[in-house]
Symmetry: C2
Subunit: 336 residues, 2 copies
């Protein structure tokens, strides 16, 4: 059994990280260990940058999140941002604020979870920063990818009449987190939700496919839930949106979990975050362009609504045999 | 008087940041507000990346560090890393972990200190991340710059016989921090030290000049002090180094501060961090290449020693009329 990281030097911590990583590719002219990393970008490609942080007690709870899942999630949220732009991952910078009491095995577990996901996406760690934390464990990752200019996906291109799609299923991560917090037993369909919360799969392949043949007019990832996603795209594109409640691909295990607690599975799945699926819009005449994405994107795609002219973002739902439209709850909240 | 940031939404915080920033340049295809930033890099240029974090109670003390100085320092440490590579700054991603009790005026002060330094170096903020912190205020910045391949400065190129130079003066920031901690009165020469600690000037212009005419064979910035810098370059380049104590450009206010406390000004200035000067090596025949850097680098350059064949890193000092060589203390320390 090994001790805490407080007895190691920063160099020893860096060596532990490097032992998990792929060898640096040729385009990385200077990698880990100098003042900065240097890369030689490909020609005719745009560079895409994103930063996202996971903070202990805000974004994860070490009591029920295994170290490998902490590392996986920290990188997955960043990969998901690249996927939403249609970009292919190239490199990442890792910035850790580490409590000195963190067990070494936990540190290694975090790195191995992160490194395994990085290797699957051929993402190279180019450097970063290590500092100690007098408070929570914090993992801040900056990720860099590349994409051709015409293939870049933004939130701005949706037009009235565009169809709205979502990948995979929703509600799973929110239900899985509740199951972990409740610390009770759950069946196989519940385990799917738990695994989705712990090890979300960023839709990198789907994002690059949607950009490559210009299938999507706007795209975003669902880090903060579908309700937030539809509002963000609607606002950035200057359109309204109507979402069909019956069409939502709610994960079955999440649906039964929410029902067993007397909650509205539709509303919980709309507002629950952490699914890291993609929401995107498609011109009605260009639905055929989705075929390669459906075939090779490794995840089902579901049409869930339509863009409208007005600014309203609404949920269409059958209540006692009558279609009702209600505003979708705002994702805005205070910073507390 | 305004309240704390806990009552604002993330959007409102982002709007407060944007109000301080330069308008985005043409090469920034997508800036703040989408899933990621997208840039179009210049042709025939390498991209340089660095990440560095400031954590409250580890890297700064809010009791005596004004908000503008916190923002300035957070960016300065990153700009200094680019300067050490010979790279010109292009963009930065800002990742903040904010305690909800942080006063809004302090938040705005941090941003304005950071934005003022960014504007002076034509650095553009391309995005980032905001999260709340249940612990310390943390500012994690990833900075991206560009440099031509042949003009890149690393730590690896020093050879035996190369002369060793340092820019500006050393010891000032360490003395200034002690003055702030002592909270007593100090004279004008002490105020220079305090200002150096609060508002260090990253040597961006000097770094690009040293790279442009290939004057320096190795280069690094003094974030952790000169003793650490000489060891890092010596190890990366596979050389030894002898530093001449009498030649060290110790800031006068620091020298008298350390003397007044009965401390050895040479040792304190060698091991004191936060000066953010550049240390670099120059082939003896190529000393003439330093002229443009001396003339336009906006900071004096001082020759402080020579690279040797052996691995030893030593300080040469006159003691009672005799030259003594002693090992320079190691910068390694545990992570606590």
């Amino acid at each position: 059994v090994s001790g805490t990281i407080g007895d190691l030097t920063e160099r020893e911590l860096i060596a532990r990280i490097q032992s998990h990583l792929l060898p640096p590719p040729r385009w990385m002219v200077v990698g880990i260990g100098d003042d900065a990393a240097v890369i030689e970008p490909e020609r005719n490609r745009l560079e895409v940058f994103s930063a996202d942080a996971l903070v202990e007690a805000v974004h994860f709870d070490r009591r029920f999140t295994p170290p490998a899942a902490i590392g996986h999630r920290a990188l997955a949220v960043n990969l998901s941002d690249l996927a939403a732009m249609g970009a292919a991952p190239r490199l990442a910078l890792l910035s850790f604020a580490l409590p000195p009491t963190l067990p070494r095995d936990d540190f290694d577990g975090i790195i191995s979870g992160l490194a395994a996901l990085a290797a699957r996406h051929r993402l190279h760690v180019a450097g970063g920063n290590l500092t100690r934390s007098p408070g929570p464990l914090t993992i801040d990752i900056t990720i860099v990818g590349s994409v051709k200019r015409r293939q870049t996906l933004t939130r701005r291109g949706a037009m009235a009449g565009d169809h709205i799609y979502v990948s995979g299923s929703i509600g799973a991560a929110a239900a899985g987190l509740q199951m972990l917090q409740a610390a009770g037993r759950h069946d196989a369909s519940g385990e799917i939700c738990v695994q989705r919360y712990l090890y979300p799969e960023p839709r990198v392949r789907l994002g690059t496919l949607l950009g490559r043949n210009r299938a999507a007019s706007a795209c975003m990832d669902l880090s903060d839930g579908l309700a937030d996603g539809v509002r963000q795209i609607a606002e950035a594109s200057g359109v309204g949106m109507t979402i069909d409640a019956e069409a939502l691909p709610i994960e079955p295990g999440a649906r039964s979990w929410f029902a067993s607690r007397g909650e509205d599975a539709v509303l919980e799945s709309l507002t629950g975050g952490d699914d890291y699926e993609l929401i995107f819009t498609v011109r009605p005449r260009q639905g055929g362009r989705l075929k390669p994405a459906s075939r090779h994107g490794e995840v089902p795609l579901t049409r869930i609504g339509v863009c409208t002219a007005g600014p309203a973002v609404t949920l269409r739902r059958m209540v006692n045999g009558t279609a009702m439209e209600t505003p979708i709850p705002s994702g805005f909240s205070h910073f507390r």
